[in-house]
């Protein structure tokens, strides 16, 4: 018979977990992240130990982290959501307008409205993709421009300024609890919930199954349409939450709020080991990818790297991680075939 690996009982659980960790993409990216932070701090200790060093390190990636989490849920199903940057912009502007119209709106309620509004925009994407049977790339490229267009025509030449929003809301953007920024705490809690769902709930595992082989998922009798819809709603809701955070963090909402964030979100997911053709990857990886992407952009100027090369490095990171995936896949497949032939 073709037993391809050692009998599971022959490997101790400790060794199995350790071996898994060494091969894990999440840990590899985390190591790179730590190296980048360490190198930058050695060059200029303000990066980590300055007045706002620690706070900025945690705070700046929080918005992208949320987007990467939502994007991961969509990419896992072999789809993509390119509209998230526009959803961020639109929701951020909505937040400002709510405060202008009803200055006394409870902050908690504003967050809920942002979440729900983003969810609705995500639902539009999901409905078009799941029932229209049109590739998500095309649909969400369309809604990227539509949502941005709605934002621009609504805002006109107005922008939301810090003076339009209550101080208590703006404080949320910088508040720290036990030296950890509040926005980071929110993002990490959301990350933990989604991460738990994707790993431990039937619905989460079905997202992986759908992305791994959509036709097989149909034959299994999985609720493919409903699951894909849910993934897009999640991605939209994350972008909505990120939009409210953007308003609180920056204090102003101009017409370029959220611009190009969708590509960073996809980039973070890919760097974090989420397969662009679906079926594998974790939100944990995507979150670390988001951290790395933001931190490297802040670290490179400190390290004296010119503006042009910063973009270049991000590109190398993305392509590098895909090449790494490919090499690992080829090596693994070859091993499997060897094992099979020798059996």
């Amino acid at each position: 018979m073709t037993a391809l690996t050692l009998n599971p009982s022959e490997i101790s659980p400790v060794r199995r977990i350790l071996g898994g960790a060494l091969r894990s993409r999440e840990i590899a990216v985390a190591v790179v992240l730590v190296l980048v932070i360490a190198a930058t701090t050695v060059k200029n200790d303000h990066f980590l130990f300055g007045a706002n060093g620690w706070r900025d390190l945690l705070l700046t990636p929080s918005i992208l982290l949320l987007l990467a989490v939502g994007e991961t849920a969509v990419v896992i199903t072999r789809n993509v959501d390119l509209s998230v940057g526009s959803v961020v912009g639109l929701t951020a502007y909505l937040t400002g307008r709510i405060f202008i119209a009803h200055p006394g709106t409870p902050i908690f309620l504003v967050f809920l409205i942002g979440l729900a509004f983003g969810g609705v925009l995500g639902l539009v994407n999901g409905v078009l993709v799941a029932w229209g049977r049109v590739p998500a790339l095309v649909i969400t490229l369309g809604t990227l421009y539509i949502y941005r267009g709605v934002f621009l025509s609504w805002a006109g030449s107005n922008r939301v300024n810090a003076s339009d929003m209550p101080d208590s809301f703006l404080n949320v953007g910088t508040k720290q609890i036990l030296s950890i920024p509040l926005l980071t705490i929110v993002a990490v809690i959301v990350l933990a919930i989604v991460g738990y769902y994707l790993y431990s709930a039937r619905g989460g595992r079905e997202l992986y199954a759908i992305g791994s082989d959509p036709d097989a998922a149909q034959l299994y009798g999985l609720k493919v349409t409903r699951r894909i819809l849910a993934a897009f709603v999640l991605s939209g809701a994350m972008a909505g939450l990120a939009g409210v955070m953007t308003a609180a963090y920056y204090g102003t909402v101009s017409s370029n709020a959220g611009l190009n964030l969708e590509l960073q979100a996809v980039g973070a997911a890919v760097i974090g080991g989420v397969a662009i053709f679906g079926g594998s990857g974790t939100v944990w990886g995507a979150a670390i990818g988001a951290f790395l992407l933001v931190t490297i952009n802040r670290a490179l100027p400190v390290l004296g790297v010119q503006d042009f090369w910063q973009q270049f490095v991000v590109g190398v990171l993305i392509i590098g991680s895909i090449v790494l995936d490919r090499v690992l896949t080829v090596r693994r497949d070859r091993k499997i075939i060897e094992a099979r032939d020798n059996a």
């Binding site: 079905e206 149909q218 034959l219 609720k223 397969a275």
Partner: protein, 515 residues
């Protein structure tokens, strides 16, 4: 009507199903009882797979009765049939390569612990128990990617068993299994039968059917033919029922003088696909390549045409060697190739009829590197006319045409290159009867003009009606070379299945498998 028999698990009566104008099932019937293993046999295209897909909820029937456990049912989805208690193992394994084999088995119905959390420990334990029962050692945590076909099949079987279904359907589960694995599968099948479940077993291997099954039903051309206890019948009887049909309805090839060899294939081998294939096709001759689906016929044709490579052997056209893996050289040497899947491989369906027909000869039509639509129309007009392609204009997109007319466009495309050899894979698949005979007439005319034709077909009457010589492929080798005069459906079927005469069958030893 008598009340439902409690012993009957599945009852299908006069079930019909059409896909567009193509009738897949006319009146199919099948009755399967508790505690029995029921064989379902028939030629390629007899409608077995369509019938199974109706039971599985993939397709819905157009007409007829479908009862499961005494209840009239009409499954709208695979989920519905699954939850009713039907497990299906398809010919092609359907697994999620990125997920662990355990997740593959339990997807959608994982054991849940507190708070609806998936209980992974319980899931792995159950998977291990299933593998033990099947007598295989597969790490339940390994991903499904990279499993051999046999192991993939094992996962499918484990999945079906874990469903605790009252009806288990296996569509050619043994095609990729070795002898030991087949015995293990049979032992499991028997123990499931003894638990009182019903099993349907589809296979082309008669020795297996006779070894395992209690009852056998025969289908032909989408119709129910017969059901017999296995003990009361014989391989000869079954084969006769599978193929028994008039050949007269089809257009026979008109006699043509056979000329010199055009294509000579010598010792062609490709590891794991086909081995030591040698044959010759002469001018004016139609050679039929018969065999079961998956026997390697299309792969041989693709290698000859240079789409795929091969490890050893040679291909010669009119005495000149054809380089391997070079489609352009193959076309230059005078080979035309009408592929099996015309929509995907034969046509640019969005393009016009004229553009499709002219696509291969385009090089000769350009003026200063530009290709005028008028030149395409001029060049393709005569060919389309000759084939009576029914389309109002040459600039209509090919996608709007019927399957038969699309096929004619693909043939016209190759005729425009004036080939010496035309390889045609399933020339009339999915084509209505009228157009079918037109395609046959066309092939016959071409042979009359001295074109050598290599025709792959899964339809026995077509092969027997058209071919001057029938080559039968079985598991990658040519197992028979039968002249037209000697070709009978039975001979071809025996060679295609390498069936053993019933008196040659020795009951195989049954291995003890812990149940």
């Amino acid at each position: 009507m008598p009340g439902p028999n409690p012993e009957v698990v599945l009852e299908l009566r006069d079930v019909a199903k059409s896909f567009g104008s193509v009738v897949a099932l006319r009146s199919a019937s099948l009755t399967v009882e508790r505690g029995s293993i029921h064989a379902l046999v028939g030629e390629n295209g007899a409608g077995k797979s369509t019938l199974i897909k109706i039971v599985a909820g993939v397709h819905r029937r157009d007409a007829g009765t479908f009862r499961f456990l005494g209840e009239e049912v009409d499954f709208a989805s695979t989920a519905a049939s699954k939850s009713a208690g039907i497990a299906v193992i398809y010919q092609e394994p359907t697994l999620f390569p990125d997920l662990s084999v355990t997740e593959n088995i339990f997807m959608g119905r994982q054991p849940l612990g507190r708070g609806r959390r998936i209980d992974r420990a319980a899931m792995y334990a159950e998977a291990r128990a299933l593998f033990e029962r099947l007598g295989v050692s597969i790490d339940p945590r390994r991903p499904a990617r990279g499993l051999s076909i046999a192991d993939q099949q094992i996962i499918e079987i484990a999945k079906a068993i874990s469903l605790d279904a009252s009806l288990l359907i296996m569509d050619e589960p043994t095609a990729a299994l070795s002898g030991v694995e087949v015995e293990r599968l049979f032992a499991v099948a028997r123990s499931l039968r003894d638990e009182g479940r019903a099993l349907v077993f589809i296979s082309h291997r008669f020795d297996e059917v006779f070894e395992l099954c209690d009852t056998v039903s025969v289908m032909r051309d989408g119709e129910y033919i017969s059901t017999d206890p296995i003990a009361d019948t014989s391989v000869d009887e079954i084969v006769a029922r599978m193929v028994g049909r008039e050949v007269a309805e089809l257009f026979p090839k008109s006699p043509t003088p056979i000329g010199d060899p055009v294509l000579q294939v010598q010792g062609l081998s490709s590891a794991g696909v086909f081995h030591d294939v040698s044959f010759t096709v002469r001018a004016g001759e139609i050679v039929g390549l018969a065999g079961l689906v998956g026997a390697g016929r299309s792969e041989i044709a693709r290698a000859v045409f240079g789409v795929d490579g091969y490890d050893s052997g040679s291909v010669t056209m009119l005495g000149r060697a054809v380089p391997r893996r070079d489609v352009r050289a193959a076309i230059r040497s005078g080979i035309g190739f009408v592929p099996e899947d015309r929509r995907k491989q034969g046509l640019v369906v969005e393009s016009s009829v004229a553009r499709n027909i002219a696509s291969v000869i385009r090089g000769g039509l350009t003026r200063a590197g530009f290709l005028a639509t008028s030149a395409e129309n001029r060049a393709s007009g005569p060919w389309a006319g000759r084939l009576e392609v029914k389309t109002s204009a040459l600039d209509m997109p090919a996608t709007t045409m019927s399957g038969g007319n699309q096929q004619k466009v693909v043939i016209a495309k190759w005729l425009a290159t004036q080939p010496k050899l035309l390889i045609i894979d399933e020339p009339t698949r999915g084509i209505d009867v009228g157009t079918k005979s037109e395609v046959h007439r066309l092939l016959s005319d071409l042979a009359g003009q001295g074109v050598a034709i290599l025709m792959i077909s899964s339809e026995l009457p077509e092969v027997l009606g058209m071919a001057d010589r029938v080559l039968v492929v079985c598991e990658g080798s040519i197992t028979a070379d039968i002249a037209r005069a000697d070709a009978t459906p039975e001979k071809v079927m025996y060679a295609a299945t390498r069936a053993v005469r019933p008196n040659d069958i020795t009951p195989a030893k049954t291995e003890e498998v812990p149940a």
